[in-house]
Structure formats: structure tokens, C-alpha cells
């Protein structure tokens, strides 16, 4: 089912806000304000069609890339940005950098090793099942990460234990600058679902309405106790692997995907159906940029942690 008109505006706004966050983070990285680095998610905001449908008490496991998971769940951009700058006001009090958890919004943390999130998702789903709840766990991974052993064993466990997991593979066609054909055995990661006896669906990841539709089915299924599904979102990352990495992909390929920018596509859909006016677009964008500028400002002005704080937080 398509989102309600309000829902459509909200989804569009989330996408624009995520993009604005990315742009602010990219600018901070370029200015040398981020001690580590930022792995941008620009171009992959179509995934919000899935994430935005989670209930507040659902869980999300997130990858190394982008901010839309956090924005989509309602995390505070100020605290996100402060963390990137290593400030005490950040989600990890400056200890994690881009490795951020927001447990209040059910985001379990960001791993430094790819593929480590999948078993975490199994654990959260196990908890739901033991407690007899109807929460859903959404778990993101890249097509490169589909090769990790943990992805495999977690998909097995989700299936044999019939866990409420929605697996979301964001296939952006590259691992670093290596094209997917060099490391994936199948063209469609969704085909892997056959190994696990779960439904596998290929979705145009840049068409947020299509993502919304496919995710709705998978979420319903999981919530109803009918087990896991695998959705593959075909998408593209518009920035280099990370902000401090060179871009080595073909500029023509990048330009072609520019035409399929998920925000642009949705904007066209919504303006065509009169859900959105040019003025709306402008207002939403302006508000988002103001919000993220304020977040950057907050981050910049926040204090660094005191060295003594390094000795806190190891044990509960």
C-alpha cells in the first residue's frame, strides 16, 4: 500500500533531511573538522522507504554507510554531528566517531567490521521471540558484505528459528572501487534467499515507493510471525567510498545514476500527483538545510571531552 498523502510528505522530508545531513557532514569533512572519516550515503536514501515504516519499538542494525538510518528513526542530528566531530555531546561522548548507537531509537550500534551486524540482528530478534513480542528487526548490509560468513549463518538462523527479521541488502554495485561481478557469484543477491528458504525480492532501490511497497510486505510478514525475508535494493552510491578516498569509478556511470537520484525521482512522482508543490520542495529543503546547519554549529561549538573521560564507560 502506498503511504497516505501525509506519509508521502513525511517520507520525502526524511529523504531531504538525510541528504542535508550528508551534505553538512561532507562539508565538515572537507573542512578537516572530522577527525576520522565519513562514508557518505548520498544516493541511497531510497532505503528510507523501508526504514521509515518501522515502529518506534522495532530494531535496526545499520552498516558503515550514511545517515539515513539514524534520520529515519528519529535520531538527533545535533548529537550525530557532535559525535562525528569527537565532541562530548555526541551519541558516544566522542568515543566512537561514525560508530554510533542510538538505543532509544532501537539502533544497536555501528560496527567497524562489516558483516558483524547480521548476528546482532539475530540476537535482537531472538529477544523478541523469547519475549513473545511482535517487534521487527530490520538489518541492512551491502552486496559486498553478502560475502561475509556472518551474513550467511545469520540468514540460516533467521530461517530455522523463523525470526522476525527483514534483511535489506543495499546493492550499490561496488565494494570500494571493485565492481560487484569481481566478488559476487550471482547478479541478484536476492537469489541467495533460495539457500534459506525465505522470499527474496529485487527492488529498484532508488524508487522509494517501490521500496516502501516491498518493505511493507516483508515487515507485515515478520510481524505476523511468518519469518524473515530478503529484499535487495538496487542502488548506487554517489560519493567516493569515503570522503577521504579517491573516486575511481567511471564518471559516465556516476552521471547516469545522477539522473536516477532517489530524491529527484520521488519529487517528480509527488509533484506529478500534486502531493508536492515547487514551494513545498523549497520550504522542505530550506528547513532541512537550516536544521543541519544548526546541527553542525552545535557540533562545532560543543566541547571536546576531558582526557579523564577516556577512563569511563568500559564496564557497566
Amino acid at each position: 500500500m502506498a503511504p497516505t498523502p501525509t506519509g508521502q510528505l513525511e517520507l520525502y522530508t526524511l529523504m531531504v533531511r538525510s541528504r542535508a545531513f550528508e551534505e553538512a557532514a561532507i562539508a565538515l569533512a572537507a573542512a578537516g573538522d572530522i577527525p576520522g572519516s565519513w562514508l557518505s550515503g548520498v544516493g541511497q536514501e531510497g532505503t528510507l522507504g523501508a526504514i521509515s515504516q518501522l515502529r518506534p519499538d522495532d530494531y535496526l542494525t545499520y552498516t558503515h554507510r550514511g545517515s539515513y538510518g539514524f534520520i529515519g528513526r528519529g535520531s538527533d542530528p545535533k548529537r550525530l554531528m557532535a559525535e562525528l566531530l569527537g565532541k562530548r555531546t555526541g551519541y558516544s561522548k566522542g568515543k566512537g566517531g561514525r560508530h554510533i548507537a542510538d538505543l532509544e531509537h532501537g539502533i544497536l550500534g555501528k560496527s567497524g567490521t562489516i558483516g558483524a551486524h547480521a548476528p546482532l540482528a539475530i540476537g535482537a530478534a531472538t529477544a523478541v521471540q523469547i519475549r513473545g513480542g511482535d517487534q521487527v528487526v530490520m538489518s541492512l548490509f551491502g552486496e559486498g558484505t553478502s560475502n561475509r560468513g556472518t551474513t550467511h549463518s545469520s540468514l540460516v538462523a533467521a530461517s530455522v528459528w523463523r525470526l522476525p527479521v527483514v534483511w535489506l541488502c543495499e546493492n550499490n554495485g561496488y565494494m570500494g572501487s571493485v565492481p560487484a561481478r569481481a566478488y559476487t557469484a550471482v547478479t541478484d543477491i536476492a537469489d541467495m534467499a533460495a539457500s534459506y528458504g525465505m522470499p527474496g525480492t529485487v527492488v529498484d532501490g532508488n524508487d522509494v515507493s517501490a521500496v516502501h511497497q516491498a518493505a511493507e510486505d516483508a515487515i507485515d510478514r515478520a510481524r505476523a510471525g511468518q519469518g524473515p525475508s530478503l529484499l535487495e535494493l538496487k542502488t548506487f552510491r554517489m560519493r567516493a567510498f569515503g570522503e577521504s578516498w579517491p573516486e575511481l569509478r567511471d564518471p559516465a556511470e556516476i552521471a547516469a545514476w545522477q539522473e536516477r537520484d532517489p530524491i529527484l525521482l520521488y519529487q517528480r512522482q509527488l509533484t506529478a500527483s500534486d502531493r508536492l508543490t515547487v514551494a513545498d520542495v523549497e520550504a522542505i529543503r530550506a528547513a532541512a538545510h537550516a536544521e543541519m546547519a544548526a546541527a553542525a554549529e552545535f557540533a562545532r561549538e560543543s566541547p571536546f571531552p576531558d582526557p579523564a573521560e577516556a577512563f569511563e564507560d568500559l564496564y557497566a
Binding site: T113, P119, G123, I130, V156, Y315
Partner: protein
């Protein structure tokens, strides 16, 4: 008082803790149906397959799922059968369980109450990949508590404490399991409190797990020869009751540490360093290290004996500190 094996004592602890707290569950291999009289036997009958979860065979999955469940409020007990197999889960144990709270700034009061249960030890012809005792590997890494009981009494009381601890706990059980008295009434044993297993004036021996049994035997043998050995069982390495150890060394002037693990960067080197840092003058001889001389554990009995600590080697090391 009744006598229980270490496994039976642990089994009782798990039954009690699972009854007490519905957040406690067990996940691992070979739990259902139980293969014998071990720590997890019978749990599935009482608590069902959801809370006693036999997993697909991937240790990274088991460990990582425990972390995920702990993050949302559960108290998993992850069972690996042997510590050797947990090597497949070291990213999950070292970098997720051990560091997740810190690196996320204890976000929203993040807790990681997980017990990682593992079998350790040689002396049974199990060879290189089924005989390891990797205590130092975990002690070296931040954020993990380390428990290695030597008696049934301690195993029960420490396991109950481990289940209630809000941090990841590596819980090591030796294959060579002892039996001992265990009271009927509930009790817990705090982490970080060493037990002096034998008082002595001439030399201090520190040992955990099955090494305590060997050390006590060596102490008895030396007593016949007029050497009075103190044997200290720290029970937990992290936290470590270094005060008790230093106090003993200040009395005896001699220290031998027995550790079944490989010697290099091992438990003995660390305890030796800490003692010297606390009181450089206390030691009158170099620390005796009785440990595996940096070899994989071989299979054949005479070879295994050559590599692993023994009563004779402990005696020799004690005498060397007195020479």
C-alpha cells in the same frame, strides 16, 4: 554436604538463574537434546527450545547474537563447548562484546550482560585444536571479565555472579573436572576475591582452574621436603585480586605462576609485572613461569606431558626460586 562435579554445579546455577530471571537464555551447539551430564543438561526440558536454543554451527553467529540480544535487554549465556571453537567468533567477542559499550559511549546506559561459556585444557589427548586454554588472549583485550574456577563450589557461585554481571564474562571450565562439596542454599561469589588454598611461608604459587589441583599436589610433595608453599587461586583474572598476591609475595619473597596457556605474553608474565610494579623489593628471585613453552598442544601422551604444566615441573620451579 553433597558432592557435585563442576558441570553439575554449573547446571544447578543455570537452572536457578533461568528460574529467577526470564531474561536469561542459553544459546550454543549441541544443547538439544543434551549429549550427557553437562552444564546445560536438562535445561531444555524445563525452559523449552526458545530459551535453550541449539544454534546453526557458526560461532560468530552464536557470539554476535548474544551481543545483539544483550543490547536489547536479554542476559544470554553463549555456549561454545571448547574455547578453541570460539576462535571463530573473536571479532564478536573481542571487538563487539568487549568494546561495544565503550565505543558507543555507553549510549543510553548500554549494558552487555553475556556469559561466554567455554571448555579449556589438555591432558586428555585432544591435541592442538581441542586443548587450548586461551585465558591470556582474552585478558589482554579490554572489556571482558575472566573467570576460571577450580572447584565445584566456586563454579556455581561464580557462574551465578557471572549471569548477574552487566558485562561480558568469559567463563572457562577445564575438561578435567573435579568434584566437591556444594551447599544446598543459594550463594554467590564476588569477582576479584582470591582464595588462599594453602597457607605457606616459603614461596607463593598462583594458579587458576585445574592448575590449582596440580599446584596443591606440588605443595604437598614439597611439604614432605620441608618447603612450605602458599597456593593462591585468584578465581577471576579480571578483576584480579592483586593485593592478596602481593601480600603473599611480601611474606614469601618467591613467586611461581602456573598457567596452562602458552607462556609468551601470558598470565605469568602479567602477574609478575604487576607484583614488581607494586613492590619491586618483594621478590628475591625471578618469577617462576610454569606454562606451555609456546607450542601447540601435541596429541601423544608423552609429548603432551612434555608440553603442559605438571606437578613435577611446578615443584622444580618452586625449588628454583629458592635456590
Amino acid at each position: 554436604m553433597r558432592t557435585l562435579t563442576i558441570s553439575q554445579a554449573m547446571n544447578e546455577a543455570l537452572h536457578e538463574e533461568m528460574r529467577r530471571d526470564p531474561a536469561v537464555y542459553v544459546v550454543g551447539l549441541g544443547l538439544y537434546p543434551s549429549d550427557g551430564d553437562d552444564a546445560t543438561s536438562g535445561l531444555v526440558d524445563e525452559f523449552g527450545e526458545r530459551r535453550v536454543r541449539s544454534a546453526p554451527n557458526d560461532e560468530a553467529l552464536i557470539a554476535g547474537s548474544a551481543v545483539g540480544a544483550a543490547l536489547v535487554g536479554m542476559r544470554p549465556v553463549a555456549e561454545f563447548y571448547l574455547a578453541d571453537f570460539a576462535f571463530n567468533a573473536l571479532d564478536e567477542i573481542l571487538s563487539k562484546a568487549g568494546k561495544w559499550r565503550y565505543m558507543h559511549g555507553s549510549n543510553a546506559g548500554m549494558k552487555l550482560p553475556i556469559v561466554f561459556l567455554q571448555g579449556i585444557g589438555g591432558y586428555v589427548g585432544a591435541a592442538a585444536e581441542h586443548s587450548q586454554s586461551p585465558l591470556a588472549l582474552y585478558w589482554h583485550s579490554p572489556g571482558l571479565k575472566i573467570v576460571a574456577p577450580s572447584t565445584s563450589y566456586d563454579a556455581k557461585g561464580l557462574l551465578k555472579t557471572a549471569v548477574r554481571d552487566d558485562n561480558p564474562v568469559m567463563f572457562f571450565i577445564h575438561k578435567f573436572e573435579d568434584s566437591g562439596p556444594v551447599p544446598e542454599d543459594e550463594y554467590l561469589i564476588p569477582f576479584g576475591v582470591a582464595e588462599i588454598r594453602r597457607d605457606g611461608a616459603d614461596a607463593t604459587v598462583v594458579a587458576t582452574s585445574y592448575m590449582v589441583t596440580l599446584a596443591l599436589q606440588a605443595a604437598e610433595n614439597l611439604a614432605d621436603r620441608g618447603v612450605d608453599v602458599e597456593v593462591i587461586d585468584p578465581r577471576t583474572l579480571e578483576p584480579l585480586d592483586i593485593d592478596t598476591i602481593v601480600g603473599s609475595v611480601q611474606k614469601t619473597g618467591r613467586l611461581v605462576v602456573v598457567d596452562e596457556d602458552t607462556e609468551r605474553c601470558g598470565v605469568a608474565a602479567e602477574i609478575g609485572a604487576q607484583v614488581l610494579e607494586r613492590d619491586f623489593a618483594a621478590l628475591r628471585a625471578p618469577v617462576g613461569r610454569v606454562a606451555n613453552p609456546n607450542l601447540p598442544v601435541p596429541y601423544s601422551p608423552p609429548l603432551e606431558e612434555a608440553v603442559l604444566p605438571s606437578v613435577a615441573k611446578i615443584e622444580a620451579a618452586i625449588l628454583a626460586t629458592l635456590a
